[in-house]
Symmetry: C2
């Protein structure tokens, strides 16, 4: 039983049930969009995430998705409180993303701060990308769309686009979202590298690898450096949880959802999160194909998507910078002549090279946490045969460890794809019961 007093919810907050939501919606202007008699609206609670309630509301005319934050982590219960303010940060991030990447996020129809509730466009027939990839569905527009989303949002919330004054305003606006950041700091950058109660892995198969990672001082040093960057490098407003479970899409429409982890952080964390989840799915295909090699063509698609995502992101970010580089970083007025333009072009390349290295490091951290930490993902979890799952996981860990410690040896995204292919052909050194 939830103790709402203990969890310090604000006056007026209550956890909605289906009838409560029906009554709420019936009193809002958007009732007209739904039309008809509220009693005839179908409402179901469908949240399968870790944190919130999610309702689907349908009438004969239209539908909405309604997300309400709970004052605790849904997955765990009220022993793990989590502030309702995350709905505020999600709403703020969605509004900013809608401005910079129109059409790539769900439209917002209503926000109720007291109830920590957002009424959004119902994405239909979109499915969660992670599920699509487990089924082997290629998404031809995905790399193009997601690279647009990332380049636009990351560039336009950075000091390359903003005055220092506005940029610091953004930092302050998001600086209170520390409870959500803390989850990332603990579960991604710390716990997988130590004995922690939250950790779990495919045991005994991965016991050896988990132990070597806990003893790997080079890796622990590298992940700590990334953690410090996560805490102290507010380069842009990042989504903060940009994995394939935060993407809903069809063959020709892509939307990014759930930015409640948004804050001003390092750009490479978003790009890395996405690439990590593509790579994890790549290694997981061994557990989802009907017969050996049945998904070979899909594997090619995934690694091609990895390459496309980075290359398109890089190109689009630079294009944004060239077209809209009016911020206080690298002031245009200093680089107006041909020699200035030339050196600024070189500097943009160097900036993207640095961002690429960040991306690989963060990608590696995101891969490791999904195998050794608290929160796993269904790409791997749905593989019921333990040896097969452990094989996919062991390969993921091998690539991730190398990406994080030997980052400099990866000169291009092509070499990452090549390493993934090579490692996917290895028989990992794992032992069963």
């Amino acid at each position: 039983m939830v103790n709402e007093t203990k969890l310090q919810t604000p006056p007026g907050y209550r956890i909605l049930d289906i009838d409560g939501l029906r009554a709420l919606l019936a009193g809002l202007p958007l009732r007209e969009k739904l039309g008809g008699d509220p009693k005839e609206w179908t409402i179901e609670e469908v949240g399968d995430g870790n944190l919130n309630l999610v309702f689907i509301v349908r009438s004969s005319a239209t539908g909405f998705a309604v997300k309400q934050a709970l004052p605790y982590v849904r997955l765990v219960g009220d022993s793990w409180p989590l502030p309702l303010s995350r709905a505020h940060y999600e709403h703020m991030a969605l509004s900013i993303q809608a401005k910079h990447a129109a059409g790539l996020v769900p439209a917002i129809h209503h926000y109720d701060k007291t109830l920590a509730l957002i009424v959004m466009e119902l994405l239909d027939p979109h499915i969660i990308m992670r599920r699509g990839m487990i089924s082997g569905i290629p998404y031809p527009k995905f790399a193009d769309d997601i690279s647009t989303f990332m380049a636009a949002n990351l560039f336009h919330t950075s000091a390359l686009a903003h005055s220092a004054h506005d940029f610091k305003g953004l930092i302050a606006d998001f600086s209170g979202n520390t409870a959500l950041c803390r989850i990332t700091e603990d579960l991604i950058f710390t716990e997988p590298y130590m004995m922690a109660e939250n950790n779990r892995w495919t045991s005994p198969w991965l016991d050896g690898q988990a132990a070597s990672i806990r003893a790997d001082v080079d890796l622990k040093c590298a992940v700590s450096k990334l953690k410090l960057k996560f805490i102290g490098s507010p380069e842009a407003m990042i989504h903060g949880d940009l994995h394939t479970g935060s993407v809903m899409l069809t063959a020709d429409d892509t939307r990014v959802i759930d930015p409640e982890f948004a804050f001003m952080g390092p750009m490479g964390f978003d790009v890395g999160a996405l690439i990590a989840n593509l790579l994890l799915n790549y290694f997981s295909q061994i557990g989802h194909e009907g017969h050996v090699g049945a998904r070979d063509e899909y594997r090619v698609w995934i690694l091609d998507a990895v390459e496309q995502v980075w290359m398109l992101f890089r190109r689009k970010f630079i294009a944004q910078w060239e077209a809209h580089g009016t911020g206080d970083g690298y002031p245009a007025v200093l680089f107006e002549d041909p020699a200035g333009k030339a050196i600024l072009a070189r500097e943009r390349d160097a900036y993207m090279d640095r961002l690429f290295r960040d991306t690989l490091g963060f990608a590696a951290a995101k891969m490791i946490r999904r195998i050794l930490g608290l929160a796993h993902n269904i790409d791997l979890e749905w593989i019921t045969d333990e040896q097969t799952r452990a094989t996919a996981e062991a390969r993921s860990l091998l690539l991730a460890r190398d990406l994080m410690v030997n980052t400099e040896s990866y000169g291009s995204i092509g070499t990452v794809a090549e390493a993934a292919r090579r490692i996917n052909a290895l028989v990992p050194d794992i032992k069963g019961p």
Copy 2:
């Protein structure tokens, strides 16, 4: 005539004159410390800085320094408004510094937010270090004291000492000080590298060097990278204006004053500012010695201080980290065994090496702005012979340009001192009228 309405001062704010201050102090509890009849207190306005009013109040019993922010830049007048909130940031910074570096800042006796006024300990017989150095006075305790000040404040306001939550609270607390940061962004990182109305230099002697700096794309790229770091790298609460004019001292007592530019920024900016001002004074000695070579011994002292400041700072920062590294950066729990301790020690060295490079870059930026930008300093300005002043300035620019563009070639602070000595013996290529 100041238009206070236009400058949007808050209700209750008024610019104090001597009688107004006398009346104010007479109504405060600290009246008792001053004692006697308020009419017998001597009060004089002595501010020689660019921004504020500064009063010295003395009674037969004691004395205070009183600083009041004006709603504009004193040096320029009400055409250049500047928010009174800087007194708030100064007060907050002084309080934090007093906690981490007790005895190295003036004690605060009273703060009036409405009047943007701080009553502080009167530092007596302390003098401004810049003036002491122009007179050739060595300060044997200085390097030790200032390195303690910097190491303690920078370490203890970083994510190496704080939880991410508290660290981000600090970032938010100082994020509004953008008007002061803007002065730095414009006057230090931008204007000296372009034709700007504010700029001035010893003309025609330095016309050639000023023009080459405006055309130097490598330098402009390097300074822009530093500017972006200044805006977007909140590593710690920095003083923000830590030159030798912000240090008051005697042979055995050192105090750092005037932290109104404080914000969460890159640590190297403070260390670099200090080293830059020592180096500028070093090059200026040619204009202050009674006969050629009269200040040779003092020159040795200055370069020794440069080396000591960095080496002691580095050692003390690492010592703080070893003793108090309980923050979220590099979590101690991951580095508990001997191998972990060893790699963390190497990582600390790498951290300081990176900070050293930042320091040199920021030092260079601070040197260039004092010669080509709006605000000059008396080390150089007091040299009345133009050729002598231009010689000192040209040498400073030569070193600064190399420090900023070829930073990597300086492997130690010793090589910086060596370069300064070498450049101080060069006859620069400058032409008079």
